[in-house]
């Protein structure tokens, strides 16, 4: 279970930084700081897949970074299966499987070595680690490039390796930042099947995406973040209901329009 309440994060602006006209009109900018995330709340239960939507620069990655303990929130709380990430970050990290928007692989290491390194950092025993890696290689169809260095891999191979690395320690919570961006259809399908497998295993999965067809086929819940706030949070049927014909694109745009109108009125 993932429970996020009133999350906020600001980044200080440089003393000499000047705001552009567009930035001056953006409610997230003050003289001193850029309020990347202002108020985000949502929850995701066991076996649920939550799609995190939002335009570029909306605050999705910052939210995911706070969830993963890479960034400390300025306000709000994040509970992962009851563990407070602010109070017990190391314990929270043991439960998280995080895939960043960059594949984040070590180019000089092979697929096996990349995954094994993170397994060891999670304190896995060698015998258990090898068995788990073999299992993941089969699940993600990776045996052919197990000993290939990341520098020599295709984008799809890299992404599969990155996903395997993120879940090598069998995390209780999985967070994926745009896991299908730039992948071919076959690899996208493998990734989506893998997420379905996690869902069936009862693991809560949060993934950010710009592909609404993936949301339609996978997600139980949807959160739309815009200008640093969770503009919508609910289950997929509630999200569909925002448009007259159940079209997700229309539903998404209607949420963004509401935020823009509110900002304009303010």
């Amino acid at each position: 279970m993932i429970d996020i309440q009133d999350l906020a994060k600001a980044f200080a602006l440089g003393k000499n930084s000047k705001l552009s006209d567009t930035e001056k009109q953006d409610v997230r900018y003050s003289k001193e700081a850029f309020h990347s995330v202002r108020n985000v709340s949502f929850s995701c239960g066991a076996g649920e897949v939550l799609g995190l939507l939002g335009p570029n620069g909306a605050g999705k990655t910052t939210t995911l970074r706070m969830l993963s303990t890479a960034l400390k929130p300025d306000a709000g709380s994040v509970l992962l299966n009851g563990v407070d990430v602010l109070k017990q970050p190391v314990k929270a990290r043991q439960q998280i499987g995080f895939l960043s928007a960059d594949t984040g692989l070590y180019g000089k290491l092979t697929a096996f070595e990349n995954i094994a390194y993170f397994g060891r950092l999670h304190g896995m025993k060698e015998s258990v680690l090898k068995q788990r890696i073999d299992e993941l290689f089969t699940l993600l169809n990776m045996h052919d490039f197990a000993n290939r260095r990341a520098d020599n891999m295709s984008t799809g191979m890299k992404q599969k390796t990155a996903i395997a690395r993120a879940v090598v320690h069998s995390p209780k919570v999985v967070i994926l930042d745009e896991p299908t961006t730039g992948l071919d259809i076959m690899t996208v399908q493998t990734v989506l099947d893998f997420i379905k497998g996690l869902k069936q295993a009862g693991t809560p999965v949060i993934f950010s995406t710009h592909h609404l067809d993936e949301v339609a086929s996978l997600c139980d819940r949807v959160v739309v973040i815009d200008k640093g706030i969770s503009a919508f949070s609910g289950d997929i049927s509630q999200f569909r209901a925002l448009s007259a014909n159940g079209d997700l694109r229309e539903a998404f745009l209607s949420v963004l329009n509401v935020v823009t109108n509110q900002q304009g009125a303010a």
Binding site: F11, S68, V90, R93, Q94, S100, D102, Y106, K108, L121
Partner: protein, 400 residues
């Protein structure tokens, strides 16, 4: 921490750039430096020593003995000229008509008879790097002066047995207490430090950039930060890797210096270098390496801190370039004449190591001062590591 360390080391060992900067460069820099320096120095010296200097002598008939000595000297070749005025002779030398003009006054013989002192002139271009010509001329002049003194004293019926004592009442016998090793250490010791210390920095630079800014740029840092290990462990893992590469670089450099110094000394006929190198014991080489250890730790921590701050590989390189230049200031200061290793200079970072290396090569090191240098540099390294750890915990640094 060790997981991070071994993983970083594995990656570095698979990287060609690391192999070039940490292993190949230190191995080959000394033979190149020793070889090129030795070759250039010996070649220019030999050429200068064997050069034939074209000369004109004005009023040679006034001092035929001297003129003959000059004529038969293998390094002088007489040229005939009608010019006698100083300005004309200067112009002729500038026009490369000859190299040197010796002007004997027209009244030299008369003055000799009257026992008066005479002023001779030697006109030549003194800008040459090796002034062997004047050395040869001085030798001839000294002999000529002595001969004239002998003739005069003999005419005055002075006892021939006492001539030597009258002509040269004091004969100074020079006893040099400095061993050849001390001499060569004084001359080249600082130069060795000038090469060793920057190589420690160079060996650590690339790995440090790769492990900080490089990791940020590749997007692997974020993944590493969310692993259930403390950030102190991550920093120390990376720090020890950078330190290891810096030290491997230093170790190879010191080894290369010892081995190639001895080899080139024997092959190129540079007996002094060979003698000096054979006088430097393994103990001194170990001590040199021991002094490079804490300074390498300082470099490793500083480089890592800079690299972690930078957003990209290129930005890190831009920040590190001034550091590379700055370390040369204390190294140059250590090469200045008269700068010695004292309690005060032992506390000046980098300069202290350079001076200590010089003393060790000379064989005159004060072990108390060496301990002071080791201790003070170790304290500095601890502060630098502390700063690096603190830096690594700052979000504004990690996510700039």
């Amino acid at each position: 921490m060790w997981q991070v360390y071994f993983k970083e080391l594995t990656e570095l060992m698979r990287d060609k750039k690391t192999l070039i900067f940490v292993i190949l460069l230190p191995i080959f820099i000394f033979p190149v430096i020793f070889g090129v320096m030795g070759l250039v120095l010996s070649s220019t010296t030999n050429t200068a020593m064997q050069a034939e200097h074209r000369y004109v002598i004005i009023n040679a008939e006034q001092a035929p003995q001297f003129a003959d000595a000059l004529f038969y000297h293998k390094n002088f070749k007489q040229i005939k000229t009608d010019k006698t005025a100083e300005a004309d002779l200067v112009a002729a030398i500038r026009n490369d008509e000859f190299d040197v003009a010796i002007v004997i006054p027209a009244d030299f013989s008369a003055k000799r008879q009257a026992a008066e002192q005479s002023q001779w002139q030697i006109i030549y271009n003194q800008s040459s790097q090796f002034d062997f010509m004047y050395r040869y001329f001085s030798e001839l002049m000294t002999n000529f002066n002595e001969q004239l003194q002998r003739d005069t004293l003999t005419q005055l019926n002075v006892d021939p047995a006492k001539l030597a004592a009258i002509i040269k009442p004091v004969d100074v016998q020079k006893v040099d207490t400095a061993a050849k090793r001390e001499n060569i250490g004084e001359k080249f010791g600082a130069v060795i430090a000038y090469i060793l210390v920057p190589l420690c920095l160079l060996g650590a630079s690339y790995p440090a950039i790769d492990m900080g800014a490089g990791e940020k740029e590749r997007g692997t840092l974020e993944t590493l930060l969310i692993c259930p290990i403390s950030r102190v462990s991550i920093v120390l893992g990376k720090f020890f890797t950078v330190l290891t590469t810096g030290l491997i670089g230093a170790l190879i450099t010191v080894g290369s210096f010892g081995i190639w110094g001895a080899i080139i000394g024997s092959f190129a006929g540079m007996a002094v270098v060979q003698e000096a190198m054979s006088a430097i014991a393994i103990t001194e080489l170990i001590l040199i390496f021991s002094l490079l250890l804490p300074i390498s730790a300082v470099f490793a921590a500083l480089l890592l801190a800079i690299s972690i701050y930078a957003r990209t590989f290129k930005e890190a390189q831009n920040y590190i370039s001034p550091l590379s230049i700055m370390i040369f200031l204390p190294l140059v200061a250590a090469m200045m004449p008269g700068v010695e290793l004292t309690t005060k200079t032992a506390l000046v970072p980098i300069m202290n190591v350079a001076l200590a290396i010089k003393e060790l090569i000379k064989g005159t090191a004060d072990y108390g001062l060496l301990a002071l240098i080791f201790g003070s540099t170790l304290v500095l390294a601890s502060i630098a590591i502390g700063f690096c750890v603190h830096w690594f915990q700052q979000e504004k640094v990690l996510f700039r």
